[in-house]
Assembly symmetry: C2
Homo-oligomer: 433 residues x 2
């Protein structure tokens, strides 16, 4: 049973993702119509630079006035692939007011204002879908929100930024330093000219906020996410990791506390065992590892970015929203009923790998061990290594048992005050064990 | 906004999966109610042996009369975890007639009668969900049916049977033979007393039929799936695989033909490169690799069986079906509009690894190569190895380029007729390249 009146789609943004969305809507029009139960029609495309030639898109559909397009009144679904906070936020809320549902790929906006946008959607009885906002083409929002709706998620551990995974993989496999690996990523188009959002983990932090919110049925804002970039990871860190049977990944980690009463969300570089499924995620690929009460350990793997993969996620949402529209229903909205407190980083409990530069003389290890003990941080292994450069210095590598981040921070502060500790070369968390 | 009148669930079957479903419905009742928007109540549990004590289940709910339970008239959702064709099929269609939606974990029934069951659900305006029927807890049906609804899936390559993956992994990692590895799987509870359904790939074939149907929007029945078990895989095959940088997995493979006009579905042991993400799927885990036009390569990984994981999938469906019920809608039904022909095995195109026992004398290789050429099968590499046992025999290992299964079959028949070919030791397909 096919409705003949088409559903009308307004596309906001026609860059790498938007142009792929438009292309697939044209080339796969028959399939989309069959799967939805009605044809879908591209009713307008809002862009900033209308003069740019866009192959396959009727120039009559192109406009620079996104607001007028959204306010037309006959639009069924607005697809927002502009990115950034404004004007995307205003356009989305306007869409709801004018009776359209929204499909968005905007992680920054969802991480910052997800609750308000969900509320606006619900107020107007519209859908807000955003599978493409996290890990590109990898189905993740829908599995977490729907497939695991009868389960209790305890941890989400993800590689959710392809740029940084490419860089870290390159450092690991070739021994390259950070700058050299970044340069290659830039040359190959994996890193932007200004890589800050990726390498300082702003991008991954936004995704962590979205994932934690859905996984724990709790509002988690970008500000709640502890964030540490990966620009200071060195070849020496990779050597240390290998000695422990680990590699280094930039991980987004969302955890329920052991007592179940609070959650944490954080993004930072971490060592993970080579035997962990995330350790073998190569290049610019993404993967998210989910641990839940009943299902156990699941992993979702695929391309985390790129025009076509992101368009695939957008179009999957578009089909779902169109189907909902035809049946007069809406999909699941925000689920934040659990309203668990988000604990600060100091409460996070994990293991640590600490490299110290120390004076090469008797008694140093005893001093260092005393500081750890005084702060309640239990040591798993210590490895001391004299240097061959005649400097009278040595390296001390300490791997701890599980301890709170606050205890570890206190330990490190105290270590820095010891005369015999010349410097703290690196501190790296150890995850996924 | 919470409705107070509960949704009523009838549970058919209370074995390993059913008892977990009942347990989680009790322990997570508040979470389920919050996520659905109304409480759910276990209204009855149909079992074969009512005398067995079932911890946590009110004995007053237990009945041996599944039909009467389904016909009560006040049941919202029937959860069918009995398995097998009858009485499951009749109970499911009766449920639809009496106004209930159905969540099922029954792969055999879905593979055999999916179309008829979908039609019955649609006729009565009810939902039929079955995420648990394929790969246990791994969200797979929903991602394929919904997340990739705007994309074009070209290939599904999956490890969908945990028992056989455990056996093959054991053979690979320890050098054990098939029988020894099977014995260990049985001792550990990974294999049933009669392992036929697993090792002869009946189980995997049912899952392949379901996956192919959803991936290609085409009806694929169990009879359409080519099936070859893994009981004849030997230690020698693993040695051959390793020489090629491969391992051996039992794979369910659903493919769209290169011209897009037909599809194939098959299950058989195959060599795959160690670098393929499926190669590192260990033990009883499952994983499904999906290749699509826009999304590219995705992989879904997790436990493919077990009470709690399967219950997680059942409960995710239960939440979805209850939500649909409250909003007066139904989820996506069967999508078979593409109606592509399912080609026979002879049309499948892939590569082959063939081990021959041949006479150790000049001219054998020329004879063998001629047979391949006459059948249009192009040879990639040949390795000839004289035996040290004085038998006057040699081994000849041929790896082909891509060729149709029909051509390969013809080649092998002709090879068997050569005087110099003493026997065909093994034929193994090579996939995932």
């Amino acid at each position: 049973m096919m409705r003949t009146r088409p559903l009308k789609v307004a596309l906001l943004g026609c860059g790498v993702v938007g142009s792929e969305v438009a292309r697939i809507m044209t080339t796969h029009a028959d399939d989309l119509a069959a799967r939805i139960g009605a044809p879908v029609e591209l009713a307008g495309v809002a862009v900033r630079r209308p003069s740019r030639v866009r192959e396959g898109i009727d120039p009559a559909l192109v406009t620079t006035d996104a607001t007028a397009l959204v306010k037309r009144g006959d639009i069924d679904v607005v697809v927002e692939v502009i990115g950034g906070i404004e004007p995307a936020r205003t356009l989305i809320t306007t869409a709801f007011e004018y009776g359209a549902s929204v499909v968005s790929a905007n992680k920054a906006l969802l991480a910052q204002d997800g609750a308000a946008l969900h509320a606006a959607a619900e107020e107007h009885g519209e859908d807000l879908y955003y599978e493409a906002a996290v890990a590109g083409a990898i189905p993740l929002i829908r599995p977490l929100r729907e497939s695991l709706a009868g389960d209790k998620v305890n941890r989400v551990l993800g590689i959710v930024n392809g740029t940084t995974n490419f860089i870290l993989d390159k450092m690991d496999s070739t021994g390259a330093g950070y700058q050299e690996a970044l340069d290659e990523a830039t040359a190959l188009g994996y890193a932007e000219a200004d890589p800050t959002a990726d390498v300082e983990a702003f991008d991954a932090a936004a995704k962590a906020a979205i994932l934690a919110g859905i996984a724990f049925h709790t509002r988690v804002r970008l500000d709640d996410v502890y964030r540490e970039g990966m620009t200071e990871v060195t070849s020496a860190d990779f050597a240390s990791a290998r000695e422990m049977g680990c590699t280094i990944k930039l991980l987004a980690i969302c955890e329920r506390a052991a007592d179940g009463a609070s959650v944490t969300a954080r993004v930072h570089p971490a060592m993970i065992p080579l035997t962990h499924p995330l350790a073998s995620v190569r290049g610019a690929y993404n993967a998210v590892f989910v641990e839940s009460d009943a299902a156990g350990q699941l992993m979702f793997y695929g391309p985390g970015a790129g025009g076509a993969p992101t368009a695939s996620a957008v179009l999957g949402d578009l089909v779902a929203v169109c189907r909902n529209r035809l049946s007069g229903s809406t999909g699941p909205g925000e689920s934040a009923y659990a309203a668990l407190p988000v604990s600060p980083m100091g409460d996070v409990v994990t293991r640590y790998h600490i490299s110290l530069d120390v004076a090469d003389k008797p008694g140093v290890l005893a001093q260092v061990a005393t500081v750890f003990a005084e702060h309640g941080v239990s040591i798993d292994t210590v490895r001391q290594q004299g240097r061959l450069d005649g400097s009278g210095e040595a390296s001390l590598v300490v791997v701890t048992h599980r301890a709170s981040d606050a205890s570890l921070t206190g330990t490190v502060e105290a270590l820095r005050k010891l005369d015999t500790v010349r410097g703290v070369a690196s501190i790296m968390r150890v995850e996924g064990e």
